[in-house]
Symmetry: C2
């Protein structure tokens, strides 16, 4: 599977992302809720921009791939929104439209990748989608119930099915891996920066 190849190519960067201190602390339950709330706000802003990038990229996909991606991800995102909305309500998170430079930069990368070609976009998108499957499983047994609720969504079968659609689509690329690997690597770096920004509570723009 091509996604597996990309992952093994940058395994260190992958591990620095899925095993980031922020994730470890969610797993152990000792991440301060303030950091988690900060994360939720930036993540909502991220998801909105990610969806725009998905929509743009579908213009460049074979039609059947575009339809499959749109129906699994865009139309099937209600569950994720529900989890987010539940946590935001429970924790009293105040909505904000102010991104950090990290959120802004990462999402500019996704929007850019979405204009280059579908293989480039998928390579840039996979770290987020696939990585959260892995992270969800790690955090699932956290002693903190909010972190468990959060993890249950990403560890769910529903979410895994969604990820499969994307990983299978990636497998239809039969060009050279050098055409897409940088997009994957750059997203791995941005994912690390995204956790770090939530850890440091980076000042929004």
């Amino acid at each position: 599977m091509l996604a597996e190849n990309l992952k093994s190519l940058y395994l260190d960067e992958w591990n620095r992302y899925v095993g980031h201190e922020f994730v470890r602390r969610m797993e152990h339950g000792d991440l301060p809720l303030e950091n988690f709330k900060f994360y939720l706000v930036q993540d909502s802003l991220y998801v909105e921009e990610m969806l725009r990038a998905v929509m743009r990229s579908t213009e460049l996909m074979p039609n059947d791939m575009a339809i499959r991606i749109l129906s699994s991800v865009v139309l099937g995102r209600d569950k994720g929104m529900e989890t987010h909305a539940f946590l935001e309500k429970e924790l009293g998170v105040e909505k904000s439209s102010r991104m950090t430079m990290t959120t802004y930069s990462y999402t500019r990368h996704l929007r850019y990748s979405s204009t280059i070609g579908w293989p480039q976009f998928l390579a840039a998108w996979i770290p987020c989608m696939w990585g959260y499957s892995e992270i969800g499983k790690t955090v699932l047994n956290s002693p903190n119930r909010y972190y468990r609720t959060w993890a249950e969504f990403y560890a769910s079968k529903e979410y895994a099915d969604r990820v499969s659609v994307i990983l299978e689509a990636m497998d239809r690329f039969n060009g050279d891996i050098t055409e897409i690997k940088d997009y994957f690597l750059i997203s791995l770096k941005f994912e690390q920066m995204f956790w770090q920004a939530a850890f440091d509570m980076e000042k929004p723009i």
Copy 2:
């Protein structure tokens, strides 16, 4: 002048950019050449991407504005390239195609802005173009001859004319400043990060 208004709105951020430690050290001549060489490499990569963004944005400009911008900037860039090439040769700079995350992020911002509208693109572009006029004048009397050579280009009348074309084009925007100010602000932040990355010699991707 609209560019003046943008500058006064974010004067602190502007000053943190044009008065960055990196600039001060060029001015005083005690910036290590290694940092300057690092900067030259990233700046070349930046300029290439900036030009692509200019080209994309001209599609959204009134025709006469597009032609004026293209002729002053794209076709008139030889002098800047000459200075760059001279310094690179003198200092034995090795070309590289490897951007830092900072260079990549900043240029994704420019490429993104270039797809939104010409006023947004100009607002994002002005910090770089206009700021270097100011920085050139500051560094012009540096005791280091390489930094002087570098500054002479940005302090030249030729460069100032080029900047005027852009500032005048910005003045043709008659919408509300709130539609463009974030693009300007974000570039000011990226410019600071760009100096800082050269100062820290950020590891390329």
